[in-house]
């Protein structure tokens, strides 16, 4: 389905962000928000709040012909946190090394077979063992296969997958190398495990969404947001549900990128919601990626995300005294008193201090009076609460910058010529931004921007986020092979000289194939990691090892210039 202007209405993109408390929805046309809606999140049945938003959008716009409906959903995270996951048959080939049996989410079945760091087959897997693993996991409908260094050679993972398929034909088999193409056996195994464990739940959800839309006569393609700020067609996400963890902060980060236009500044963004503030780091107008994947239920995964920090301070954060010390958050006891809530909050302080106009100012002043010590005016109390909140946020910003500065570097030049991260600007979005961001900026002595409609940056981000994909190509010219882990391929290198440039071109080709297979338009790509080493044996150069990770650049859809699918 190509992008045909006019056919699907007025170039309208529907974005939905399902948060912990509220679900936001927007319709964006030509980069502008046409309509927006906020509704409580129906935790027990997410489909319900999704449809509430969709129905409202149809009503507001008078159209069912959206170019795309993109969901940033907590469905996967919730399923994992609430233990609403399937038992999976986790089969691993750990080979020699660290003992990870006790640190995986569930007890694995250990198989023989070892691929070394070069991708060489050092010990073969054993079919008999795989068959007994199948018997051991006879009650499981979903299997997971993960091998050490499978990203350097997928053959063993594929062989074991085939044997399991042949023996028990489970509903689904997740493999580590396909779920994540990066080194880190532990994280790949965790990713693949959770991918398998939520597979059935996510697919039921996907089917329900598709059917409900179809019943309403809505035939727009549905996309799901990923933690790296890209989107995936729902049909593809069905096999990679783990990609849909922690999409909330990613949605708002992409939303900020879209609202901020071409501002190439470095700094931070603050998404100040009801209970938390999400801080992201920006370098020259782009959000900085986290070095490690996201963690879920205490287990690190290979799921790529932005470098974010969350602090438990938001508009609805409770302000209270504890042992004569003023505290702000992290708990929330309903909305602000100004909005009819039960207890004094940060929002009440903002209203009482006159920084924002919200709810009933008299109730906000009353909240501050309740909190004030003897002889303290409500204004003084409000300013003390705001100081506390601002200090808490500034401390987290400082911690995030320290973490960024402490990031290990492996090249001499990087360390000697390292430039310090300089904060230039703060971009504030979310409900609490208008009141708090100017105060934070003042304390840090830098400028700030508050984009219009920043309250719905999250849903806006979902609406405009580009579809993305990434692959890791590794070529070993001494062995004469290259692999692309995400595609599960190991191929002979072309004859003749093979340079890093050739590796990029080969990666582009495979990425394009994958994009086509997944029905994604491939626009601008970027190399997110690349390295090249000469291999010397004796005193002779025998080959090169090259790695390049190529990605469809996450970002904002360019209207009219890009096709969706």
């Amino acid at each position: 389905m190509g992008f045909i202007p006019g056919k699907r209405g007025d170039n309208m993109f529907l974005g939905l962000d399902i948060g912990g408390t509220f679900t936001d929805g927007v319709v964006v046309a030509d980069g502008k928000i046409v309509t927006m809606v906020k509704t409580p999140t129906t935790k027990e049945n997410l489909l319900q709040c999704i449809l509430t938003v969709v129905d409202k959008m149809v009503e507001d716009t008078g159209s069912k012909a959206f170019e795309r409906i993109a969901l940033s959903t907590t469905i996967v995270t919730n399923a994992i946190v609430e233990g609403n996951i399937d038992q999976v048959g986790l089969c691993i080939m750990p080979g020699p090394g660290m003992n990870i049996n006790d640190i995986l989410p569930v007890a694995p079945y250990i198989l023989s077979g070892y691929i070394d760091h070069r991708g060489r087959e050092m010990a073969q897997p054993n079919k008999e063992e795989v068959l007994s693993a199948c018997r051991h996991f006879s009650s499981c409908d979903v299997f997971v296969v993960s091998g050490k260094f499978a990203v350097r050679n997928p053959c063993f993972e594929l062989a074991v997958t085939d044997w399991i398929q042949g023996q028990v034909s489970p509903m689904h088999i997740s493999t580590g190398g396909k779920v994540s193409g990066s080194l880190n056996f532990l994280r790949r195994t965790n990713s693949a495990y959770y991918n398998g464990a939520v597979w059935r739940h996510f697919n039921a959800f996907a089917t329900a969404v598709e059917e409900a839309l179809k019943m309403r006569g809505i035939y727009s393609p549905v996309f799901v947001l990923k933690a790296d700020g890209g989107t995936l067609p729902l049909s593809v996400a069905r096999n990679y549900p783990v990609e849909a963890i922690f999409t909330g902060p990613a949605a708002s980060t992409i939303g900020i990128m879209g609202m901020n236009g071409d501002a190439h500044v470095s700094g931070i963004s603050l998404d100040i919601g009801g209970t938390t503030t999400d801080i992201a780091l920006w370098q020259k107008g782009r959000p900085v990626l986290a070095k490690e994947g996201a963690a879920v239920a205490g287990h690190g995964t290979g799921v790529q995300g932005f470098r974010l920090k969350s602090v438990g301070i938001g508009g609805d954060s409770l302000a209270f005294w504890e042992n004569h010390v003023l505290k702000v958050g992290p708990m929330r006891h309903g909305p602000a008193m100004a909005a009819g809530g039960p207890k004094p909050t940060v929002t009440d302080a903002m209203v009482a201090a006159g920084f924002i106009d919200f709810g009933d100012r008299a109730l906000a002043v009353k909240a501050m009076k309740l909190l004030a010590l003897q002889g303290q005016s409500p204004e003084e109390m409000a300013s003390q609460v705001l100081d506390k909140a601002v200090n808490g946020i500034c401390q987290s910003i400082a911690n995030l910058l320290d973490e960024q500065a402490a990031e290990p570097l492996y090249h001499v030049e990087e360390i000697i010529f390292e430039t310090k991260f300089v904060l230039e600007n703060i971009i504030g979005v979310g409900g609490g931004a208008a009141g708090l961001v100017p105060l934070v900026a003042k304390k840090l002595g830098i400028s700030y921007t508050l984009p219009e409609n920043g309250r719905v940056a999250n849903a806006f981000g979902a609406a405009v986020a580009r579809p993305t994909l990434d692959i890791t190509l590794r070529a070993d010219t001494a062995e004469g092979y290259y692999t692309v882990a995400e595609l599960g391929i190991k191929n002979r290198l072309p004859r003749g000289k093979f340079s890093l440039q050739n590796a990029y071109e080969l990666a582009e080709k495979h990425l394009a194939e994958l994009a086509q297979k997944n029905g994604i338009f491939i626009g601008e790509t970027q190399i997110i990691q690349s390295e090249e080493f000469n291999m010397v044996r004796g005193f002779t150069t025998v080959g090169k090892i090259m790695t390049c990770r190529l990605q469809v650049k996450p970002g904002v859809l360019q209207y009219g210039k890009e096709e969706l699918c």
Partner: protein, 439 residues
């Protein structure tokens, strides 16, 4: 801190630094180690915290070394980062952020001596020595024990601490008659004021885990217990591995991991090890796990079948070495008294030092005052010749706790030599004032 993590890991593979493109010290050296560490997920372990190296200063380096004509012109930025890596490891331990630390860094340093004319045995400056002097200056550490587990004799570290009774230097290595640098014999025991605090354990080619652990359990550990250091440093070379291309020993990853587990060094610093695919990935994972107090029993090389077993003659030889070294340690006070009696006021030595990387021949004449009040000032006369250069220097060295007489005498000697004018450079390394003076 109660929640201190167990191991601080400063990993710095210097992926953009090589001595030359095909040299064993090239970009590729720690590539497979990086792959293995990352693939295992070691950096995610709660017991392990990764640190970024600092950048050492010239002052940090000149606390140990005297470069001719100056140290800055002889080193690269990589050396500053590698030394800074060792310093970052030391800081993490001293600030009690971690229980112990491993500086898995390159370039290496244990062949670098006090006087530096260039690079020898892949080393230009001595990372452990720079770190130790930093520890002494910053944290007031007194007694230090260094256990050098590289296959090559740590002649640079031995040279730096040869006159220092507060630094116990223990090196086991493949016998100097069969391997570079050809030193590290049992009769090298320290100058008379520090006699016994240099302890060499030459081992025969073909020594296996069994032999190594005999030496560790029956010789090294009891001596460490006896010396009671404030801190234990491990010069953690990995070239005793059975697959190392530059040596002939037969130690495995398990042998190295158990060594780290037994030694419980406060800080380990990587030295050599050039079996970059078959040994380093496994040896480093083993050492990291052992130092972090984690299970290392599954770290076994895929080609372990290639490891030879220990012959009975090697076993007997090692037993004899252990016995002889134990005896020496038992009577070192007596030996020291005899040496001081024999030498009178000055102990001196003359030697030739070869810088294999650059073909420099150095002739060095060294004299130390056997002072009854302090560890004595040192005078070094050095002349270095290569196809390109001829460099000479006359250097006085003043220890931190120098007595007034030694302090004055050192300056007098250097001034007098300068007047005579037989050398190109005249310098005083004044450790009391933490500076190197060019006169």
């Amino acid at each position: 801190m109660l929640n201190a993590q167990r191991l601080g890991l400063v990993f710095f593979p210097a992926f953009d630094w090589a001595i030359s493109p095909t040299h064993p010290e090239r970009e590729e050296r720690l590539l497979y180690t990086r792959d293995q560490i990352v693939e295992e997920g070691l950096l995610d372990m709660p017991a392990i915290r990764e640190y970024k190296p600092k950048i050492a200063t010239i002052q940090d380096i000149e606390r140990v070394h005297v470069g001719v004509p100056d140290i800055a012109s002889l080193i690269t930025n990589a050396h500053l980062v590698s030394a800074g890596g060792a310093i970052a490891a030391a800081d993490a331990v001293m600030k009690k952020e971690v229980q112990r630390a491993f500086a898995l860094v390159r370039p290496p340093g244990h062949h670098a001596m006090r006087i530096v004319h260039g690079t020898r045995g892949f080393c230009t400056i001595n990372m452990e020595a720079i770190m130790i002097e930093y520890l002494r200056k910053t944290y007031g550490i007194g007694k230090v024990a260094i256990v050098d587990t590289d296959v090559h004799h740590g002649d640079g570290t031995q040279d730096v601490f040869y006159h220092d009774p507060n630094t116990l230097f223990i090196s086991f290595h493949q016998d100097g008659r069969t391997l570079y640098p050809g030193t590290g014999f049992t009769n090298e025991m320290g100058s008379p004021n520090a006699l016994g605090t240099t302890l060499n354990i030459p081992l025969p080619p073909g020594t296996t885990d069994r032999g190594l652990h005999e030496v560790l359990d029956h010789l090294i550990m009891p001596i460490l217990g006896d010396f009671k250091p404030d801190i234990i440093i491990n010069s953690a070379g990995q070239d005793n591995h059975y697959s190392d291309p530059l040596a002939n020993m037969a130690i495995t990853a398990q042998g190295y991991a158990r060594l780290a587990d037994t030694l419980k060094a406060d800080i380990a610093v990587l030295e050599g090890g050039y079996s970059i695919e078959d040994a380093l990935p496994y040896v480093n994972v083993g050492i990291v796990l052992a130092m972090a107090g984690m299970d290392y029993s599954k770290v076994i090389e895929p080609n372990i079948a290639d490891c030879p077993s220990q012959t009975s003659s090697v076993t007997h030889y090692i037993k004899d070495v252990i016995k002889e070294r134990q005896d020496m340690w038992g009577k070192k006070e007596k030996l020291q008294r005899e040496a001081i009696m024999k030498h009178g006021e000055f102990w001196q030595t003359e030697r030739s030092i070869y810088y294999d990387d650059e073909g420099i021949n150095e002739l060095q004449k060294e004299r130390i005052r056997l002072c009854p009040h302090c560890s004595g000032y040192v005078i070094i006369e050095t002349k270095a010749r290569s196809s390109l250069h001829y460099k000479t220097a006359y250097i006085g060295m003043i220890p931190q706790m120098a007595c007034p007489a030694c302090l004055k005498a050192a300056y007098d000697m250097v001034h007098k030599a300068k007047k005579q004018g037989n050398y190109q450079h005249y310098m005083v390394q004044n450790k009391q004032e933490d500076r190197l003076e060019k006169l």
